[in-house]
Symmetry: D2
Subunit: 343 residues, 4 copies
């Protein structure tokens, strides 16, 4: 069986696992105050080109979003987000559970447009009754988006500019950041992300770690008292070194981008195979998530040897499906898929 269900179905990259095994019997102080975490932060600060960024290592994505957004917003503020955004749809109301409204904007291929953000905020404050409404207190975007698409450098510059024009922070959900940085046609670097966002996170769970997300705060004035905030959200890992060890490995010698880049390369090859087989590519995704429309009989046949998921409900004759590669996908997986798809 070849697996294309998601990028969190396997464990961790071998080097990450090795580090955990190698250090297993060492004793470290807890809560991220250990030397491995310190080292990881140093490596990450270099990678993002921001020596005084605050970095906190958390366990999971929803947890990281909920903690950061709760910390960034004032009581009366909400978070702007594409209506397809993860926090708007798939986090079981974790943002609202900490008291904040998700203010949705229309999505275009999973992205929001700077002009829409600008118009929303401008019209909001022009409305006489805006005091009775939820003020837009920050912008959330995901890079890559939930649809596998990416914002170009120009688009990121535009969003950053409009946020700062209106004096709200730009927050980037980077659950799959590694696959954005190495996407087909990506014209930005992690340094650009760090320069343009006020707060963002670099995903580990889907990018080679067993688990873990690195929350990066470049605009440190915005997120104070992070430690109790994290603890209060139940997001403080006792054995914090487990996170430090993993991010240390991933950010040494650029392993993070190398393994994600490989996944993207294989995803694009898979797309090429699908195109050659004349199947419709539903979203033009340059990253490790690919979306196709397949006849139902093809889906049924494929599923005997390939594991993947529907994207939405099964249709009458054909359905949209999602194929995801990861750091764990191999050349052999793709070659075998090629043999299966064209019988």
């Amino acid at each position: 069986m070849i697996y294309f269900n998601s990028d969190y179905t396997a464990g961790a990259h071998a080097k990450v696992l090795d580090a955990l095994v190698r250090t297993n019997l060492e004793h470290s102080v807890g809560y991220g105050l250990d030397p491995y975490t310190a080292e990881a932060k140093t490596l990450m600060r270099e990678a993002i080109g921001c020596a005084d960024a605050e970095i906190i290592l958390l366990v999971g994505g929803t947890q990281t979003n909920a903690t950061a957004i709760d910390g960034l917003l004032a009581r009366h503020e909400g978070v702007l987000c594409a209506d397809s955004g993860h926090i708007a749809v798939h986090e079981s109301g974790a943002i609202e559970a900490s008291g904040h409204k998700v203010l949705t904007l229309p999505e275009y291929c999973g992205k929001v447009r700077a002009e829409n953000v600008d118009r929303y905020i401008t019209e909001f404050y022009r409305d006489e009754t805006c005091q009775h409404m939820v003020a837009p207190g920050m912008l959330y975007i995901s890079q890559p988006t939930e649809y596998g698409t990416i914002y170009s450098l120009e688009e990121l510059e535009g969003l950053s500019a409009v946020c700062h024009k209106h004096n709200i922070p730009l927050y980037i959900d980077g659950a799959r950041m590694g696959y954005a940085l190495t996407a087909e046609g990506a014209d930005f670097t992690l340094r650009d992300i760090a320069r343009l966002a006020d707060v963002f996170y670099i995903g580990g769970t889907k990018c080679g770690a067993l688990f873990g997300e690195a929350l990066v705060v470049t605009n440190r004035a915005l997120l104070k008292n992070l430690f109790p905030l994290v603890k209060q959200h139940g997001a403080l890992l006792a054995k914090g070194r487990l996170l430090g060890l993993q991010f240390g490995v991933l950010f040494r010698d650029n392993l993070y981008e190398r393994i994600c880049g490989n996944a993207v390369r294989l995803a694009l090859r898979l797309r090429e195979i699908m195109r050659k087989a004349d199947y419709e590519v539903v979203i033009e995704s340059p990253t490790n998530q690919q979306f196709f429309r397949l006849p139902n009989d093809v889906i049924d046949r494929l599923r005997k040897s390939v594991s993947f998921d529907y994207w939405g409900p099964r249709g009458a004759d054909s359905s949209i499906v999602r194929f995801v590669t990861s750091w764990a996908t191999t050349e052999e997986d793709i070659e075998e898929f090629r043999r299966v798809i064209i019988p």
Copy 2:
């Protein structure tokens, strides 16, 4: 100056005020345990035809919505609502502040359609990932709506049926209930409301009281421990008798519907005057709120002797405006308006 800005710009109906003045120096036990409140509840239970309904008297509308919805929803649930609904737009995020997402449905003249509620819930539970989403835990509608329109008895029956089919409560925001009950073409009574909704409130603030909203719980199993819930929401009035006195007056001899019915009658006459003067009626509202498109020069001229508000931003040549009558509007107000509009 004639006032059509809103139905909460004047004080209280004379009889309501008289009751407050007459009893002013009496001493009563606090927190709604006084005999005036008991009497008001008896009168209201008769009016709604439900002898064992729980009734709690609160101070304001947002407060009542936030308290009731917080009490009705489980932690993981959200409230379905038209995207024009008051709780979705104009309550400063009070629903989210108590932890719940507002799940919006498209509005048609301010109303939601039973078929859309049905489809939303059905598709929600059909979605494999619904556990990661916010479950629809109740339906909120306003009667009349924010646009002055009303649900017909058939529509109410349909919404009630779809809610109970899916085992969620129907909640009705009746901030202007008096104007719905007496609307042009209204084919339902307060008893129908009580029979079809699980929880609803009868607005006092906009319908003859100084302030006050009566929260009615006909399905008592749904809202337990109301007292601490109300207190926790800061919604418990120390001198609870002030609320009991007011609702007692309003529900004696049907005063509530009589004074609201008069307001509706005058609003319809005002609409007739506008129609005769060839001004566009923007929304077909059968209640005390009327919406017109007027040329800006007419607006500017009118405003010298008539007070009313824009509905949205001022346009280039013409603008939409709202005229609201209330229990305080008089025949003379309308006749004077007629003289002003046709100079």
Copy 3:
């Protein structure tokens, strides 16, 4: 029957009620933007000697505490409070409902000591694990306290100094402020309160108004975006002028202190009567609340013509009872009480 149950059992002072009646049919803009509210604020700013204080008029005490404390604290902070404090005991968890811990200090006659506040905060930050604990983010005191006692000017100076030394705000719950200002031996003025507290409220409900509390923010940097905060807490009264009118009357010609001072004078006379009758005065209260231990048979006899409440459970032979005077108490009430107590 003479009533000494509480200071919120009657309606409003005649002048307050007159103002409501006189202006009843006027039309005003809502939400506290009306001229009566503006005038009341001007009068109150004069009374407190702070021309640029922010003043917001709310409806009730728990509501005011919950709103102000929620606005003052950061997410990770709690509020220091005497363990007998109203927010610690009798607000149904309203503070916790908005996410904050009440950090209790031992009470002495209902009061906290500056040295205890100082020690608590100093030891808190000395503790290595303080990041895992709830940081003291503000101090709450009530003046007068729940036991009718008052802080002297020196005590207030001390508490203010220790708060500002540790950079946290001092908040004063003044539900019965009028009775503190006119207490036997009171050596402070409203100007002192305004100078020493960062935020406080001047109670109306128990001091001559039908309802209403005036939240005063002298340190305006601490409480921003008050409007949506108030709205979100369901604390925004539609007909805000009702509050403005009442506080306008109370703060014209010093009515507020005059009527409360009268209540205090009568309470002290009642205490004198009790002392002469050889009944134990349980708490040395200089304000309108008085606490006595009475034999149960005396209680039973008194209750035929005097209404008052137990303070705690009824004892085997004797019980502690509370007598409260108010602006509504008359000389005749006290004289009649004298006749009843000494049969």
Copy 4:
């Protein structure tokens, strides 16, 4: 250096780590729906003797407490807890952050007494003003306690009985459950715990796992809709199998109790060494945490080769220190400690 700082300073037991390594490249469905998690639940249900218990695997202790308590309490309820309880002191207000008050009871060696629970609840409902107070909605205890002590079977029976008499659930925080089950003199089993508690958790983080806590719900009617509750608390691990794998190993062949029992045996030997060296044993703890008073010069000398923490502030001449053993402590560690302590 020998380490006695805590039981979460090392990684995981070798067998646990092996399981993670062995399965690393397998693909599994996420969120705990994988076969490893199913197997772990089966093993745990056998161990607790409750075939239909609901079990959810979470990441950390504060997270588990916050999630379970939030799910168990109604809006208006608080949680009873010893004033030394972890949720009362060291969770940064996570309980309050989800809206609930921690109602403290006096601790005796870290424990609460059934009679005090009984009295608290009885007196609460006897108080006329209890509607204005936070209702006790559940009891939280930790087994072992924060001081290393344990409740006997009789004490547990007593607490369970008093909870069920008053119709509130008993919740047990078992962060160190393995060390309680194997404590000196422990007269209860995991089956007793499951029989007497309504909800409890079996700690993994401190008992041989890399991380992970198993939340067990034996009274399933109490905690419904766990999945979205967990997700909303940011507590849903994407690669849920990591938790299943670890608990599967720990509950196969009783590994959990064997490794914890070894730690307890070594802790008791360490205590014996201290006693022989004439150092004061501060708390009579039968588990893996031991507390001693040592002269400061001894502390300073020891610290050159032994790592351990102060328990509270350093004293003038002597200080209280805590020594903690774990599954990772070896016979050699203890023997070396013996050589160091008696030079």
